[in-house]
């Protein structure tokens, strides 16, 4: 199998932890049409690996991530984590960070951070202690009593990361977590995420639309095709993690970014064509 790039990590130790075999997901639209969002994806992710998924908007990245986390029903195929099939959320093993700030606005930062542990039935003292520990890790223990609305977008996402980490998951699934942030905040949070991942040794699957972010953070970058989403290209990043900011200006970084870009842009055009066609079909229907 080493010659199959979707299954071989960049010389990283660790066994395969998350496996997708023939994963397809289709949706029924309100109009009755069928949308194939993800089509027959095979993928193996290794323990401690950082994998980014990049692809045109609407190609099925979020759907694939939800499938990994047991948040969506598969039309076919299987997802397994540590050899066990994932058919529903596994809060003790897989944690999510979403793009839209999904902190609950009526709860304080601390009350948001303890939520997973609260659902699990952990006692108040213990869960608050754990929550404070992870808030400290993301540098936000000082605003435990604040409400999400009082925090900037970047701070809210750091809280969401802390909340995910309290569950002590082995896999962190992140869906464009920095997508709504400005460029500088993104860069800062990217480095911070790299540090946290290094400290905690988590396996991360990271959906992004930023080439730089993908190359900077990942061991492997997967390029998804236009819908129905398939893994079109796998690009390994042959540089030791963690990387510092000098990597951003290195020759390797530039080369990889160009390579991914040319692969991606083709799919972006194809997806645009798909969207156009779909829209035409939709309007002629009604």
């Amino acid at each position: 199998m080493p010659e199959d790039p979707t299954r071989s990590p960049a010389g990283r130790p660790g066994s395969e932890i998350l496996t997708a075999s023939g994963v397809s997901v289709s949706f029924q639209t309100a109009a009755g049409a069928r949308i194939d969002a993800v089509d027959a994806v095979d993928l193996g992710i290794h323990e401690g690996e950082f994998v980014s998924i990049i692809g045109p908007s609407g190609c099925g990245k979020s759907t694939l991530l939800r499938a990994f986390g047991g948040l969506t029903r598969l039309s076919s195929g299987t997802v397994t984590l540590d050899g066990e099939r994932v058919v529903r959320p596994q809060p003790d093993k897989i944690a999510f960070v979403f793009q839209d700030y999904t902190l609950f606005p009526w709860r304080t930062v601390l009350a948001n951070t303890v939520m997973g542990l609260q659902f699990r039935g952990v006692g108040r003292r213990e869960r608050e202690e754990t929550a404070r520990h992870f808030l400290q890790l993301v540098g936000l223990d000082w605003c435990a009593g604040s409400f999400p609305a009082e925090l900037s977008g970047g701070m809210q996402q750091r809280v969401a990361i802390a909340r995910a980490l309290t569950m002590n998951p082995s896999v962190l699934l992140m869906d464009e977590p920095f997508g709504a942030l400005d460029e500088q905040t993104r860069t800062l949070l990217g480095s911070e995420l790299a540090r946290i991942v290094e400290e905690t040794g988590k396996t991360v699957v990271f959906v992004t639309h930023s080439l730089a972010e993908a190359v900077f953070l990942s061991d492997r970058v997967l390029v998804m095709s236009a819908r129905p989403g398939q893994i079109k290209d796998v690009v390994e990043v042959p540089a030791q993690r963690p990387r510092d900011e000098s990597f951003l200006t290195s020759e390797v970084f530039d080369r990889l970014r160009r390579r991914i870009f040319s692969s991606l842009i083709e799919e972006v055009h194809r997806q645009a064509a798909v969207n156009e066609e779909y829209r035409r079909a939709g309007t002629s229907d009604s």
Binding site: G69, L71, P89, P91, D92, I94, A95, F96, F98, D100, T102, F104, P105, W106, R107, T108, M115, G116, Q118, F119, R120, G145, S146, F147, A149, E150, R163, M167
Partner: protein, 279 residues
């Protein structure tokens, strides 16, 4: 922050003055009308006479007993409609199928005059408190249930997905995510529900009972006892105003918002000299 706060205070002051003036004008017209001789004092006693009569009555046990009975009935009816209304709204709202089945019926029931079933309730439960509580409870149930249902349906799916990924069971999802997220809607329904509770309980007492403010009002009307009649009408107004006060107090009680504004006030304690006049 300072300028808008000053304007705020001025605005509230002029609004309060305006309100007071309006009340004075209305009461003045009433006084003038009753003295003009155009309207018989049997139909419209002077406001001062009504107030004097009410204070006389308040020295007796009768109005206090009636007030007690009415308040107890309203509170029981309120508990009935809040518990059942929220439970119904939440249970149905978290199932798409049951929402689709029940929502049109709920809206239809909301608009029919439920008072038509009151005679049936008196047949079933007699003319005592039980029929008032059930009637008031049913009246308050519909706005609470309908609002809770709507609020639950409008909760962003992103919240549900986040909570599910954190391992929330269906039950936990309901009470730690759906209900707090729908809280503004639910509270709006609760407010309407409580005012309907009062209306229905007093109306029930007026139609068939042996007790309560509504009973005193309808009896004194039949006896053409105008001063007592108006005194009890005034007492009902006072009760409604008290309930309204409790409701608006409650409206302001939002723990999240309170904590926020507390911190905000702390942050601008020094320049908030003008603002502090309000508190």
């Amino acid at each position: 922050m300072r300028a808008p706060r000053i304007r705020d205070v001025r605005q509230t002051a002029t609004v309060v003055v305006g309100r007071t003036l309006l009340v004075v004008v209305v009461v003045g017209c009433w006084q003038w009308l009753s003295q003009s001789g155009w309207v018989s004092p049997l139909l419209l006693p002077a406001p001062l006479d009504v107030v004097r009569r009410l204070s006389e009555l308040l020295a007796t046990a009768e109005p206090w007993h009636a007030l007690f009975v009415t308040v107890v009935d309203v509170v029981l009816a309120f508990v009935f409609s809040v518990v059942l209304g929220i439970a119904f709204g939440v249970a149905v709202g978290s199932s798409r199928y049951w929402s689709q089945v029940t929502e049109p019926l709920l809206v239809a029931l909301y608009t029919i005059p439920i008072i038509v079933i009151y005679p049936v309730l008196t047949l079933m439960f007699g003319i005592g408190d039980v029929s008032k509580v059930v009637f008031g409870g049913i009246y308050g149930f519909f706005p609470i249930a309908a609002n809770a249902l709507r609020g639950i349906q409008l909760v962003s799916p992103a919240y549900l997905e986040a909570a599910r990924s954190l391992g929330a069971s269906r039950r936990q999802l309901r009470w730690t995510v759906l209900v707090p997220a729908a809280r503004p809607f639910i509270m709006a329904g609760v407010r309407i529900g409580l005012s309907l509770n009062l209306i229905a309980v007093v109306a029930g007492q007026m139609l068939a009972s042996a007790d309560g403010i509504g009973f005193l009002i309808s009896t004194n009307a039949q006896l053409l006892n105008a001063s007592d009649l108006y005194a009890y009408i005034l007492l009902t107004f006072v009760l409604a105003a008290a309930i309204n006060y409790v409701l608006t107090r409650n409206e302001q009680y939002d723990p999240a918002r309170q904590a926020r504004s507390k911190r905000a006030t702390q942050a601008r304690r020094a320049p908030a000299l003008v603002g502090s006049e309000r508190g």
